[in-house]
Amino acid sequence: MPKKTKSPVKDLDRSGKKPSRRKTDIASSVDVVPKGTNDTWIYTDTVKEHFFSPKNLVTDASKMKGYDGLGMVGSPACGDMMKIWIKVDKQADKIKEMKWQTFGCGSAIAATSMLSVMVSEAGGIKIDKALAIKPQDITKRLGDLPTRKIHCSVLGDKALRSAINNYFIKTKQKDRVIKEQVRIIDKIAKVTDHDIEEAVLEGAHTLEAVQKKTKVGVGNPEVIPEVEQLIRFYTEKYFG
């Protein structure tokens, strides 16, 4: 069992206690103001709780032994990288434990921590159910994320699927290995992540270029942050 993470922020190491926030303090109610906009990014208390006191975090990867599946997605260049270890109850076909490490911002760390709780709470969840987890399910449990930060939470479920695949391969259940499902990114233009991957492979490395090929996000600008993240992700994957 890896030891419990100790937060360097002493008065914040609340270990599961409800966070107490001084409402009068301006610095704590206004969080991050992005460059070039007036939006304030206020994280919910649940996000902060998971960010400052992450659950199931691995602090020394060299001590991780006896796990059944290991998965990794992202890269430091694209700003997010996640590594997930799982333990499986083979009889019940359930995930018993999920441990993780994340390089990323507040949203990315909180989302991975929440995901680890979701798959291991109440004795763990069935593998099929774990495979069906979508980024939106994580965001919902976090009590929502600022719109612009949703793209930071889209890698957690991918990393988990990659760990489960690794388990399938290790246990010779090759028929269960799932190829990364096609995901619709833009419902209006009906563009999937595969379409974006194809566009990147064909040499479109900017949003403009990908839009020329796919029309993604043209009538649906809310999806653009995710599209940009995917372009970065695939560019890094194939050309990085």
Partner: protein, 413 residues
């Protein structure tokens, strides 16, 4: 009582109480429109004239060479669009580390048919004089280079660049080629550096109030007499027809007062801040492994510290620092509206991951030695914690190699 340490003075400064006091009468007592001919209007007009006199002494220019605007970004827009839109199919040169006010205006000029060249910088953030010479074309009309960078604090040798352009202009005059104007964005420099436009050899210079303990939403553009420029805002013809709109009298008074005050104390304050800056830089580099100082060690603003801390992400650091009362900023993509990390740190040749892990601490007049000690006491623990949670191990040698092998070419937009 929770500690509150503001280390983001490059983002904006608190307004000096003396500035607030100087502005005060112009809200309710002398509220007249400077264009009105009665006493109240004349009082406002007089306040603007006085402000111009004060500023002209600091800049070593004529009073009618100063145009007040709505801030640094507007001044930059007026300088760049005002000069370039006066001609067709012209060419402008700027650098890869300029503020977005310059780079995005350059984008917009490109769309309206102007050609743009972007100069690279070296690993320490400095522009090479020879690159400027190479980039100049027959139809070059404007060169815009900032004095001091807002992210990494690097100070360019504007005096030398200005003198070079002046020399080139003399040669061009003989060949009947048009004159090249030189604009500098001095927003970050105006509280600390020499602003003598004759020494700097500039034709245009942008200054704003919000970085020098003055009010936000007010700036100025110095325009050398004879510069061919046109307005970008149409209206009542205020400010020599170059900036229409009723003048922001309290803001103008505040800007002039702030400039005067910072210039009175800058020598002493620069020395004090340089000491604190170097303590913070040395402290971080010494106590935290895998850290890189972004930008030149000495050719940098006295108040700027920008360090990349590898294997961790900037926003995560920023949030932890905020929780213990330290307010700073990062070049990570996660705090910007786009997904791109700092273009300035990328321009140094650093890979994306170095930009994602960059932290900027900018000091100011309320920064005390104990504040620096507080940062140095807590930052290492925060980094240790975040690094323990991070699966990333960036190879420092690869970073060095990437910086060394960066292409550093003059780019055409």
């Amino acid at each position: 009582m929770k500690k509150k340490i503001y280390l983001d003075y490059a983002s904006t400064t608190p307004t000096d109480p003396k500035v607030v006091k100087a502005m005060e009468p112009y809200w309710n007592t002398y509220y007249g429109n400077p264009s009105s001919l009665y006493q109240l209007g004349l009082k406002s007009k007089e306040a603007i004239s006085q402000a111009k006199i004060k500023i002209s002494k600091l800049l070593n220019c004529q009073t009618d060479e100063i145009i007040f605007t709505g801030g640094g970004t507007e001044s930059v827009n007026l300088a760049l669009k005002g000069v370039m839109n006066k001609i067709e199919a012209g060419h402008m040169i700027t650098s890869s580390i300029e503020h977005h006010a310059v780079l995005h205006t350059a984008d917009s000029l490109k769309k309206s048919g102007q050609a743009i060249s972007i100069l690279p910088v070296d690993a320490e953030g400095l522009i090479k004089l020879s690159d400027i010479e190479t980039a100049i074309q027959d139809n070059t009309r404007l060169i815009s280079i900032m004095i001091a960078n807002n992210e990494i604090g690097v100070i360019q040798d504007i005096q030398k660049i200005g003198a070079l352009i002046e020399k080139i202009n003399k040669a061009r005059a003989k060949k009947a080629l048009p004159r090249i104007y030189f604009h500098t964005d001095a927003c970050q420099a105006s509280g600390t550096l020499d602003l003598d436009v004759k020494k700097l050899h500039v034709d245009l210079m942008t200054i704003n109030g919000s970085k020098i303990y003055g009010p936000k939403g007010v700036g100025l553009l110095y325009i050398k007499t004879g510069t061919i420029i046109r307005a970008i805002i149409d209206g009542g013809g205020q400010e020599k027809n170059l900036r229409s709109g009723t003048e922001n009298v309290p803001g103008i008074v505040g800007l002039a007062t702030a400039l005067e005050l910072t210039n009175q104390t800058k020598h002493k304050e620069n020395a004090r801040l340089t000491k604190l800056r170097d303590q913070l830089i040395t402290g971080i580099l010494k106590t935290i492994p895998k850290t890189i100082l972004n930008g030149h060690t000495t050719k940098r603003l006295p108040n700027n510290v920008n360090i990349s801390i590898l294997d961790v992400e900037g926003e995560a650091m920023l949030l932890y620092l905020d929780e213990i009362g330290i307010q700073a900023s990062t070049g990570s993509a996660c705090t910007s509206t786009t997904l791109d990390p700092s273009h300035v740190i990328r321009a140094l040749g650093c890979p994306y991951e170095v930009a994602h892990g960059s932290m900027r601490f900018t000091l100011g007049k309320y920064t005390k030695a104990t504040d620096i000690k507080y940062v140095l006491k807590h930052l290492p623990d925060i980094i240790k914690h975040l690094r323990a949670a991070s699966p990333v191990i960036v190879d420092m040698k690869e970073v060095d190699r990437a910086i060394k092998n960066a292409p550093r070419k003059i780019e055409t937009l």
